[in-house]
Symmetry: C2
Amino acid sequence: MKNIYVIGIGLIGGSLALDIKANNNSAQVYGIDTNDAHLKEALELNIIDKTATYEDLKNADFVILSVPVDVAIVELPKILDAIHDDTLIIDVGSTKLPICNAIKDHERRRNFLAAHPIAGTEFSGPKAAINNLFQNKTNIICEVEKTAFKLQEKALKLFSELGMRIRYMNPEAHDKHIAYVSHLSHISAFMLGKTVIEKEKNERDIFDMAGSGFESTVRLAKSSPAMWTPIFKQNRENVIETLDEYITNLKRFKGYMEADDFDQIYNEMENTNHIKDILKGIQ
Amino acid sequence: MKNIYVIGIGLIGGSLALDIKANNNSAQVYGIDTNDAHLKEALELNIIDKTATYEDLKNADFVILSVPVDVAIVELPKILDAIHDDTLIIDVGSTKLPICNAIKDHERRRNFLAAHPIAGTEFSGPKAAINNLFQNKTNIICEVEKTAFKLQEKALKLFSELGMRIRYMNPEAHDKHIAYVSHLSHISAFMLGKTVIEKEKNERDIFDMAGSGFESTVRLAKSSPAMWTPIFKQNRENVIETLDEYITNLKRFKGYMEADDFDQIYNEMENTNHIKDILKGIQ
C-alpha cells in the first residue's frame, strides 16, 4: 500500500495516518478535508505528506473515511465512484447500519469495508491525533463477506499492524450494542455536566469541590457536538431505548431513596459492583 | 504530634497514615478497626505501627476518624469522651452536617475538626491506601470557628504537609454542593453500569465493544456499597434533588431526540462543552 488517502484529518483519521506512516516507510499519505485550517495543521504536524482532492482518488491504493457519520453516507458513494478497481476503502464511523445501507447496491460495494475501531479520546481535530491509539483496542468489522477477498486481506494486515483485535458483527447488532456501551455513556456524561453547571453558576465552587471521580464521570462531556449529533441521529431508535432504560433505573433508585429503602440502595450498588470484573479487560 | 490514632484503616485512613509516617519520623501510628483482617493487612503493609483500642485513646495527640458516615456519628461522641483535653480529632467523611450536629453540644466540641479531603479512588480497604493521595487536592473544612485555635493550627500544619488546599464552608453548603459534584456522579455511574449489565447478559460483548470512554464514565460503579449507602442516606434530600434535576435533563434530551430536534441536541452538548475549562484545574 503506497498511496493512502485520509478523508477527514481529525483524531481518528490523523491517528491512523500517523501509525500507517510509522509502519510503512514507503507510504505516501494524502489528506482531504473541507477544513483548510485542519489540512494546514496536519501538514505542519507531519500527519499527512500532501493535500489532495477527490480527483486524485483514482491513484489511491487505500482510502480511510473518517468524517462525521452524516457526511460519510453522502460522501462514500462519490468516493466509490472516484477510486479504481483495486482500491480498498474503510470507513471508521461510530454507526454502521446507515453506511452499509447507503452503498449496499453500489457497483463497487466490494471495495468497501465497514469498520469501527473502538478507540478515541474526548478531543478532536488533527492536534488530537496520537501514535498507537489503536494498540490493543477492539475493531468491529461489519458485513466482511461483502468485501472482496483480496481487500479483506489488505485490511486485516493493516489492523494487525495497528495492534487491534478484530470482532465481526452485523451492522444491526453493532448499532444496538454500541448504543449501550458508548452512546449512552456520552449522554450520561453530557447531562451530568449540564446538571452540575446549571446548579453551580459560580464555577469556582465546582472546580474547588470536584475530584477525580467527577472528572472521570463527566469526561465525555468534552466531546465534539459536531461528531456526536449525527451519531445520535443515525442511531436514534437504539439510543432512545438505552435512555428509556437508564432513566427507568435512575427513577427506581430515586424511588428507593424516597421510600427510605436503603437496603435496596445497597443491593443496587452491590449488584453492579461486578462491573469491576467486566472492565478488567478494557485498556 | 507523636501518637496518631487512625480509626478505620481503609483507603483514606490508610493513605493518611502513610503520608503522616513519611512526613514525621517520630510519629507512632496506631490503628483501630472492627475488621481484624484489615488491621492485620495494615500492619503487614506498614501502614500502622501497632493496633489499639478506644481505651488507648487517652494517649492520643491526634485521632483520624475515617469510617462509614453512619458509624462516624455514633462513634465520634464516644471518641471525644475517651481522649484528653489537647487531642485533635478530625473526621474525613463525605457528609458534614450530620456529624457536626451529632457533637454540637459535646463538651469537647473544640477538640474536633470536620473535614472532607476530596480525594480517593474507586477502591477500598488498606490495600487501596497509597502515598501522596492528597497532594494538590482540595480539603473542605467546616465550622472551623468551633475548633480550638491551637488545634486548628495543628490541623492546618498537617494538611499543608499533605499538600492540600483548604476551603472553608458551612456544613449545609458542603452537603448541598457535594451532592452535585460527587454523590450524583456515583449514582449516574452505578445506574449506567446497571443498565448495560442488564442489557448485555453476555458479558463478553460488553468487554469487547466497550472502550475507554465507557470505562471512564462507569468507573465509580466499582465503589463500595458499604461506604456509599450511608452517605446517600445522610444526604438524602440533597441527593434526591440532584437526581430530580439529572432525570429531568435526561428526559428533555430524550424528548428532543423523539421530536427529531437535533439542532437542540447539538445545543445541549455545545452548552455543556465548557466543562472542559472547568475541569482544567482538577488533578
